[in-house]
Symmetry: C2
Subunit: 630 residues, 2 copies
């Protein structure tokens, strides 16, 4: 049965039947799995039935079509409802539905883009709506395509600040292609939400944030249908359907009762009977209007990037800004974003060159990452920048981006103690550890301007979460403009056939290590200096060769001593079964304000301490020489 054949809109009786079918399938899937969140699915079934039958414009056979609407379950735990919709649309069959939550199934406990109809992995509350804002921003600011973005949210997640970053941004940007459907079922996981069924207050808040809010009974299919019709009237405001619903609706023993969150229905057979059995309806949503394909990649040929002469003093952050602005000419899909510090990260150079592809994200790092997830889901290549320390604000979203298989390019300036006078709140000292512990991530640490520019270019093609750490302070250019820095490589800056020790550094400490090597050379010590600009993946060959050749390694980093560059080196040496004496110089006390040079000394990661540590290690191992594994 095709619910849309007889008229534009399926009739109420059919909608109600479809909603009951979605409920039945949700209950069945959870029963088969033995776990899940049926009550959270039951509350939103009517809302989703009407959407699927009468309003969603989607071609399930062609999820890549650019004109398709987007549907996001921000309340990802209602996944059995989403999968029941897929089944009703013929996209998922009965057999697959029964694999819910099993190893190997695409139908996971929370939706992920392993399913072609899912744009973003949800399950961490407060994430789906911000990503929806990103998708809607793309449709307004970048593509001017007529697709709409529908986001189903819970009410518990309205306590997450990230939701209000999204509400604020959407209202400010006038995203009338975005519809948030608030499933206000009153009950969270462990009790009543702050506002319970006070839908009027939700509506008041949303209106204050620039939204058009429509309060409805979320179980009245005619009210729902009318609300979606009203939402389609674009008037410059995003629309919130504030739906009062009952958690567990349709199954009397569960309805509006606390204590059943995340638990299978106790008696699924009785519940299915109560819900009316299995009608077997099939829905074919209206397909989207035909639209032009997305812009092709690379409109102007070579990716030219700026270059600097050796010896110039340049801040890495400036090199990033110049490089990303230059790449914007070669790559028409490149979009830059910033957390309202573009004049410090130098992303404002991109804004000046490509204002139509720069998005000011204000001081809202979670929304910035979420928008980037949305943009890349639409085929754009987002570069987002802020002070590196403030990426910690968005760590959950970055973690979830990896589950979304998203390609993100995140750039952090103001790294380590060389931030200086602004003090520790502005100093990223955990960013390398944090980004290394993201699945499939790439972690790049740049030491000079030419390297920064080349790494920026290398990020363009790199899949997954890619992080570039730039420097606030100016450092001398040590690399020529034509040198290459492939991801996964390292650069040996000093070496001889008979090195006594290896100094491994990254970022600002490369310059300190070079200076220490000079100091050591004066006393006849030959130090190999290696620039580990690619911390993940690390250049195993170069690192192990340095360790084998010398048996003695000093790793020095402007980062806490846990999980950073030193950790990466040790993991690599251990995996390769290399024995070497390793000394790790890192920041080990809480920094204060001070001048960058003072703080490098204070932290013991400057040329003097590197040379001292090298000498001490050589003295120690001279007494008990290292066995060379080579």
């Amino acid at each position: 049965m095709d619910l849309t054949t007889t008229s534009d809109h399926a009739r109420p009786a059919a909608l109600r039947a479809l909603a009951q079918q979605l409920r039945v399938d949700a209950v069945r899937a959870v029963a088969a799995a033995g776990s899940g969140h049926p009550t959270s699915a039951l509350s939103a079934a009517d809302l989703m039935a009407v959407l699927l039958a009468n309003h969603l414009r989607y071609h399930f056979d062609r999820p890549e079509q650019p004109g398709n609407d987007h549907l996001i379950f921000s309340k990802g735990h209602a996944s059995p409802l989403l999968y029941a919709m897929y089944r009703a649309a013929g996209a998922v069959g009965e057999e697959e539905l029964m694999t819910y939550r099993r190893l190997g199934s695409r139908l996971e406990g929370h939706p992920t883009p392993r399913l072609p109809w899912v744009d973003v992995a949800t399950g961490s509350l407060g994430l789906g709506l911000p990503v929806g804002v990103g998708l809607a921003l793309a449709g307004k600011a970048l593509e001017t395509l007529p697709y709409r973005v529908w986001v189903l949210t819970g009410d518990s997640e309205l306590a997450e600040g990230s939701m209000w970053e999204a509400f604020a941004r959407a209202g400010h940007a006038g995203l009338d292609n975005l519809v948030a459907i608030l499933d206000v079922n009153r009950l969270g996981q462990s009790g009543e939400t702050m506002l319970g069924w006070d839908t009027a207050t939700y509506a008041t808040r949303l209106r204050a944030f620039g939204w058009r809010a429509i309060e409805i009974d979320g179980h009245d299919v005619e009210e729902i249908d009318a609300a979606y019709d009203a939402a389609a009237e674009s008037d410059g405001h995003p629309v919130a359907i504030v739906a009062r619903t009952v958690k567990g609706k349709g199954v009397a023993m569960l309805a509006d009762r606390n204590g059943f969150h995340g638990k299978p229905v106790p008696d699924p057979r009785a519940a299915i009977k109560e819900l009316g059995g299995r009608p077997g309806l099939l829905v074919r949503p209206t397909p989207p209007p035909p639209v032009a394909a997305r812009p092709a990649r690379g409109v102007s040929g070579p990716q030219e990037i700026p270059a600097w002469e050796r010896g110039e003093l340049v801040a890495g952050r400036r090199a990033y800004g110049e490089a990303v602005a230059a790449l914007g000419f070669a790559e028409s899909r490149l979009v830059a974003m910033d957390g309202e510090v573009g004049n410090s990260t130098f992303s404002h150079l991109f804004r000046d060159a490509h204002p139509e592809r720069f998005l000011e994200m204000y001081v809202a790092e979670q929304q910035m990452v979420a928008a980037a997830i949305g943009f890349q889901a639409r085929g754009w290549i987002p570069f987002a920048s802020t002070f590196a320390a403030f990426w910690t604000r968005a760590y959950d979203f970055i973690r979830m981006a990896a589950i979304s298989r998203a390609d993100l390019r995140l750039v952090g300036s103001h790294t380590g103690v060389t931030v200086g006078e602004d003090g520790p709140s502005q100093m990223a000292l955990e960013d390398i550890a944090m980004f290394r512990a993201v699945h499939g991530s790439t972690v790049l640490v740049a030491s000079d301007a030419n390297q920064t520019a080349r790494l920026t270019r290398a990020m363009l093609d790199r899949p997954g979460v890619v992080y570039l750490r730039t420097l606030r302070m100016a450092t001398p250019v040590v690399y020529g403009p034509d040198e290459n820095f492939p991801i996964g490589g390292a650069r040996v800056l000093r070496s001889s056939d008979d090195d006594d020790i290896a100094l491994l550094a990254a970022g600002v400490t490369v310059h300190e290590a070079l200076a220490a090597a000079d100091d050591l050379a004066h006393t006849g010590i030959r130090a190999r200096v290696v620039d580990l600009y690619s911390v993940k993946p690390l250049d195993t060959e170069t690192v192990t060769a340095a360790a084998r050749a010398t048996g003695r390694v000093v790793v020095v980093e402007d980062h806490w001593a846990q999980g950073g560059v030193g950790g990466a080196v040790l993991e690599t040496l251990a995996d390769a079964d290399i024995d070497a004496r390793v000394r790790r110089l890192a920041v080990r006390a809480m920094p204060t304000s001070g001048q960058p040079g003072e703080l490098l000394r204070w932290a013991g990661i400057d040329r003097g301490e590197i040379a001292r540590s090298a000498r001490a290690l050589i003295d120690q191992t001279a007494a008990a020489p290292m066995r060379r594994a080579a």
Copy 2:
């Protein structure tokens, strides 16, 4: 001159003079430092002058007095204004003021609790108000003391979602002891904010969040004075003073001009002259009313905790809940909080036992950490719990807590792939790396119920950020109820005089390692099994002894392969110059839904893979035997 001697309220002329002095001192401090944010200080000078002279109840000589008001600069970059206030109050002298931002000075670029009048380090926008909510919650829900909490916020930071978590919580809790002073100076760091000078919209939003909002001209001292008077009338609502101000106010060349954020005044002499020179006013704020001292520690003697019999199957999260509830009887300052998942973390057991000291924080992890920072600043001992993965949502606040020298106890359940069917969004796989990279942190990973309970008790006295990782799934009790687990220790569960290999594990993998040791024993391989329940600090002696004795180590963890338990072991072995062959078993692909046991196998961190790796390592090193360093 004591501005408060002649009447209750200093007169407008004196307030204006004080405001100009604050401006002059802010400009001077920044000029001496050569860096800082003078324009952000100038906009709020009138607001702070009136507060200091007429409304703040504070004894600067006795910052520990429990009746003192609290003053937080959520816009921490306005620190020169705060320090100018301290100078006007006689707490900081001229000489110290001129040390601003220098190495060794307490007057850092952003305020930290190195100053006795500062409760919380700020500088990451959007943090100060949420901590103020915590301080105000303490005053209402825990202490019923009459102090007030004043928070100066910027307008840029109103884009941070964390601010709206705070506004929502404060409104919900009716915190009429909290006053937020919004310094709406229109300009952020790199341009105009989303709302500019639209103070009416800010007021509308705040009212929708349950606040009383008072719009004023932030440079009219009489309006400011009246607004603070009005704010003092407690009516069950937090109060927001929405002040329209001019960035750079008082210095014509800076006033309301973009491009001067975070830059010293170009001509400080001229600016000081324009501001009226240096009047040298001294202000003695009204002291707080005398109040009783805070509750003493430990009202009911012994800290009894629950115990389980060996072999029982118990989920670690349940053991945490029972333990923290039991400790609540012995320690009257213990407060528990949860992110609306108390029925999963089992903090609801504390809620049931001590409802007056349990705070439901809803799904707002940043506000939860901020409230904990506030509580501990008032002398309480907060334990906060949620799913471990969701601590990533609050990583910036946790990072900042370390700069605040705050004592936090954070507990994360639902860790690793053994979360199972719910899928990767719910699986903490980066928490150990993340918490290890927090300065001064402690990271505990519990494997059975008795250990979990003991570690919970050990957290009570531990300073700094302390993290406990608990298990969702039930595991057998392997430790007796009287065993001790000191922080910094490890437990050797199997050993002999001639072990062939060491298996190092933590949490769920302890059980897999024990099983693997059994399997290996059947083929004549003696495996030492070590439970690394204290990952930071790690037990150097036990770990190095195991590595020395066997020369072969398998580390197995339910966590990503970067920066976790394996990383901690490698760092410890390297620092101690121990050579050993180390194999690291960890999660290396993106998990999916599945059963916990299936996923342990899929990830290669189960008993079978541990035994296989151990055998392979022994075979490999038998061919080329290890040199024993011992």
